[in-house]
């Protein structure tokens, strides 16, 4: 392999440095040079930098196979997963920044967890039903097409790339973002969820929900898992309009929760 590459490139990484624990030290960009190796990913390059050049460099990786969603970062101004991005696909100078819209932990590391937790709390990201769940009984069958759609939506790894790449999310901290709308759509499609359209309505249709979105589809273009965010988006929109014309009762479970 290596023989095929006549002269390995010397990659120049410009990395955003800032540690919130040292607020007196203003953020700056630091350059690191790394010799490119065949099939090198940003994951490999960053680990090499940390091992050989600067042990204080902060960044996140867990699974290094685009499953855990912790290595989202801005690569030359575009959100991407560090483990999935090969340096061979990038120019010689590579600028890395933490994802905007999330709380910064330090350097390239951000706290997506808190954001996603608050999003799930807002949309009640779980199945709500009137009837008690009976563990012993056999689950009602679901048709294949629906199951496939739900599976597609469930493939979201909560990396936050769609939020970081979204112009609206960048100026409105409460905007649900594509992943939030995707989460809502997932439960809207689920026949086991008994929430009425009305009870969805308030979460979805708010200007921080689907109507805050202006359809620039950056989310769709940057999602590293290729989620069908365009379809999700128009689906939720049409649902919101439909619920405007339906006079469904609020879901009892929700009313109970409000009373309590």
């Amino acid at each position: 392999m290596a023989e095929n590459i006549k002269t390995a490139r010397i990659l120049k990484f410009d990395i955003f440095r800032y540690n919130p624990a040292e607020p007196d030290k203003p953020p700056y960009m630091q350059r690191f040079e790394v010799e490119e190796a065949p099939y090198m990913s940003l994951f490999l390059a960053l680990n090499q930098i940390r091992e050989e050049q600067d042990s204080s460099l902060q960044f996140d990786f867990v699974c290094r196979s685009a499953v855990c969603g912790s290595c989202g970062m801005m690569v030359n101004g575009r959100p991407a997963l560090g483990c999935q991005t090969l340096t061979a696909d990038l120019p010689e100078v590579i600028a890395l920044h933490p994802l905007p819209t999330f709380a910064l932990i330090g350097d390239l590391s951000v706290d997506t967890g808190r954001w996603f937790r608050s999003m799930v709390d807002r949309v009640n990201g779980w199945i709500e039903r009137e009837t008690e769940f009976d563990r012993a009984s056999i689950e009602a069958p679901m048709d294949n097409a629906t199951a496939d759609k739900i599976y597609e939506a469930d493939r979201c790894i909560e990396c936050g790339c769609c939020v970081a790449g979204c112009a609206v999310a960048n100026v409105r901290p409460d905007f649900l973002g594509a992943t939030g709308l995707n989460r809502i759509a997932r439960f809207m499609m689920d026949p086991r969820d008994q929430r009425s359209e009305q009870s969805w309505f308030e979460v979805v249709s708010d200007s921080e929900g689907v109507f805050g979105c202006i359809g620039m589809m950056a989310c769709d273009d940057v999602c590293p898992k290729d989620l069908p965010l365009l379809e999700v988006y128009s689906y939720v929109r049409r649902k919101a309009v439909a619920s405007l014309f339906s006079s469904g009762e609020d879901h009892p479970a929700r009313r109970e929760a409000e009373k309590a």
């Binding site: 120019p91 709380a103 709390d121 309505f201 128009s234």
Partner: protein, 269 residues
């Protein structure tokens, strides 16, 4: 992309944003209003875009010479089609501008964040084919910039088309009060040739861009033609844009007197 520099979207900001509020209250009445606003801005945008295309064919009658133009204009006025149309378009125009403008961030700083992010996403991968992936996505991503230009052209239209609409409405009003006709080729040609062509040239480019991108955006938002996919929809948008822009340039050139009416022979003899 000039990667020697920090991406602009991050240059201005020192530190990414901090925590988000955990609890969030939504007001159902406000949410309900949002749906109506969205429907209103979309429907008025659609109506205006379709009207502008029809308008192009009406003004395009100048391609058959003054005779053809006058015939169309006089018909529309005599049968009282032109007068209510001017009033209706004025209303659509105002409603659309107010409804659509609610999406534009109020603060300069916010618009700058949007623009810088849009520019970075649009620059990513240019001149570096390794980045392009052959799937349904846009890489480089163009659409955030398209939306920003949607706002910019909208603002220009707001100013220039207001002038045009007020001019026309006052002509119609005068004609209705005093009798006679509001639209006449001789007067129109004199106006355009007297310098108004500059205004109409800018208006033409802005309206055609704004209308075709706007229709594309509507398709994306509501899932019309979703089966075609974004690339095909985008291609359709571009074809429509260049088609009407080309037609508009020819019509404007005839109005400005730079080009003889190419279809005049149709009405000869």
């Amino acid at each position: 992309m000039n990667t020697n520099t920090t991406p602009t979207s991050l240059r201005a900001k020192s530190v990414p944003r901090g925590d988000r509020p955990a609890s969030f209250v939504v007001d159902p009445a406000a949410a309900r209003r949002q749906v109506w606003y969205e429907l209103a801005s979309g429907a008025t945008g659609l109506a205006l875009a379709l009207f502008m295309w029809g308008h192009m064919f009406l003004v395009g009658s100048i391609l058959t010479g003054e005779k053809g133009f006058n015939w169309v204009a006089h018909m529309l006025e005599e049968y009282f089609i032109a007068q209510p149309t001017v009033a209706a378009v004025l209303v659509l125009f105002i409603v659309h501008a107010v409804m659509a403008a609610r999406k534009v961030p109020g603060q300069l700083k916010e618009r700058k964040v949007m623009r810088d992010l849009g520019r970075d996403l649009n620059a990513y991968g240019k001149g570096f084919p390794g980045m392009a992936r052959g799937d349904e996505r846009f890489q480089p991503h163009v659409e955030s910039m398209l939306w920003i230009w949607q706002v910019r052209t909208g603002m220009i239209i707001l100013v220039l088309a207001s002038f045009h609409l007020i001019l026309l409405a006052s002509n119609v009003f005068e004609a209705t009060m005093q009798g006679g006709l509001a639209i006449d080729a001789t007067r129109t040609l004199a106006r355009v040739q007297g310098g108004l062509w500059m205004l109409y040239a800018v208006l033409l480019v802005c309206v055609e861009f704004h209308a075709s991108v706007g229709l594309y955006r509507l398709a994306i938002k509501w899932g019309f033609g979703a089966r075609l996919g974004r690339h095909t929809l985008h291609r359709i948008e571009q074809v429509l844009l260049w088609l009407f822009l080309g037609l508009g340039v020819v019509v404007l050139a005839v109005l400005a007197g730079w080009l003889p009416a190419p279809l005049e022979f149709l009405l000869k003899g």
